[in-house]
């Protein structure tokens, strides 16, 4: 996980997304503890309130839960829930900008589909 000051995204959102990615990658597996606000503040040199906001959003959205006096844990099923959340946002975040750019460059739909297939094959 890495913060980027040049990225204009607010720091608390970067914290939230960084933790989400770590949960998706099972760096923090379900039912294990995620870093505390203090640890995040220390590691990234940010105000603890900012770190707290990032962590609390994960709790509010139901991906994590608080164990009183211990810390924040990843909920069982959180990974699947996160995947669903990201799938919902996928079109908006990735697909529409891709199509927009393709249209601007007169890249046809068939061409696009072919490229996606080629890229997937190359990746395997």
């Amino acid at each position: 996980m890495k913060l980027n000051n040049q990225d204009q995204k607010p720091i608390y959102l970067q914290i939230q997304e960084g933790l989400e990615n770590a949960i998706l990658a099972e760096t923090y597996a379900e039912e294990t503890q995620i870093p505390s606000t203090t640890e995040l503040s220390q590691a990234f040199q940010i105000n603890p309130a900012t770190a707290g906001k990032g962590v609390n959003t994960l709790v509010d959205e139901g991906f994590c839960y608080k164990k009183r006096g211990i810390g924040i844990f990843v909920k069982k099923g959180a990974r699947e829930m996160l995947k669903n959340k990201r799938r919902t946002a996928f079109k908006e975040t990735y697909l529409y900008p891709l199509i927009k750019e393709a249209r601007q460059l007169d890249i046809s739909e068939e061409n696009l589909i072919q490229w996606i297939k080629e890229a997937e094959n190359a990746d395997n």
Binding site: Q8, I11, S41, Q42, Q45, I46, N47, A49
Partner: protein, 285 residues
């Protein structure tokens, strides 16, 4: 001490109005950024809060009281760039004397940190470079662990490495004490990650004061071809307008996310520094 209220404070230096009816409430347990250009009134405001100078009008309330008594003044520390210490004092003597007034001062901790910055504690204050003096006074200020610590231009003269060390020291003391630390500076983007609340000051007036995230998430740039931007300019609160080669870029203030933008209009975020500059320019006009 839980709150400091600045009530209608003005300050004149002869015919110069340094502060103009400033109202502000500082709370316990937050890191504030007091941000403004040179000569904006940052130092004057801090000096008045710390009771170094008297306001021309208005008053400061410390937990509702107008007087800074002995107990309360031990809960407040003000560190300024001017050399106000006896210059023949040694670094370790400065630590010692300060610790006599501020009971939470941890001498061992302070000496260790000063050592970590590569500063010899046996040196006299007038033998230190500008950068090293700035580090010493800031470390001493933080180490008082006072409920309210005011640091005026704490990084003046620091090199990049020391600035980072200093920022982590601010956060460490804050984590340990949960006190209030007010950082006054014109290096806005550099300290923005440390802040919880932001106070923008310009020509003696506070023109924006809010939680950092509220400010960052409520200002955007909208950019597009001139003809498409007219409507947007009319229907939004515009802070700044830039025109360039047939394109218009607007900084708008909008508390909710902007949806349904017409095709060809880009939205991007503004940094704290961008926002500060935009407001300052708007006030210039």
């Amino acid at each position: 001490m839980q709150t400091i209220n600045i009530c209608d404070v003005s300050k004149n230096y002869r015919d110069v109005l340094a502060l103009n009816k400033v109202n502000l409430e500082l709370h316990a347990g937050k890191i504030y950024g007091l941000l403004g250009r040179n000569g904006a009134g940052k130092s004057t405001l801090l000096k008045i809060i710390a009771d170094r100078i008297k306001p021309t009008s208005g008053q400061i309330l410390y937990d509702g009281k107008t007087i800074l008594d002995d107990t309360t003044s031990r809960q407040l520390y003000f560190s300024e760039p001017d050399k106000t210490f006896p210059e023949l004092l040694k670094v370790k003597e400065l630590c010692y004397y300060t610790s006599q007034f501020y009971p939470q001062f941890n001498l061992d901790d302070a000496r260790q940190i000063i050592h970590n910055f590569g500063i010899n504690e046996k040196k006299r204050l007038n033998q230190l470079s500008t950068g090293h003096f700035a580090i010493v006074r800031s470390i001493v200020a933080l180490q008082t662990r006072a409920r309210f610590i005011f640091l005026d231009e704490p990084t003046l003269g620091h090199d990049a490495v020391n600035r980072e060390l200093f920022y982590s020291e601010v956060l460490r003391i804050y984590r340990e004490e949960q006190n209030t630390i007010v950082l006054s500076t014109h290096l806005i983007d550099e300290i923005s990650n440390l802040l919880e609340d932001v106070i923008f000051i310009d020509r003696g007036q506070i023109f924006l004061e809010d939680n950092l995230e509220n400010i960052i998430t409520s200002h955007f740039y909208l950019t597009g071809p001139s003809e498409k931007m007219d409507q947007i300019e009319k229907s939004n609160s515009v802070i700044e307008k830039k025109e360039n080669l047939g394109f218009v870029s607007l900084m708008v203030q909008q508390s909710s996310e902007i949806h349904d933008l017409p095709d060809g209009i880009n939205i991007s975020r503004a940094s704290l520094q961008d926002i500060f500059v935009a407001y300052s320019k708007k006030r210039d006009n």
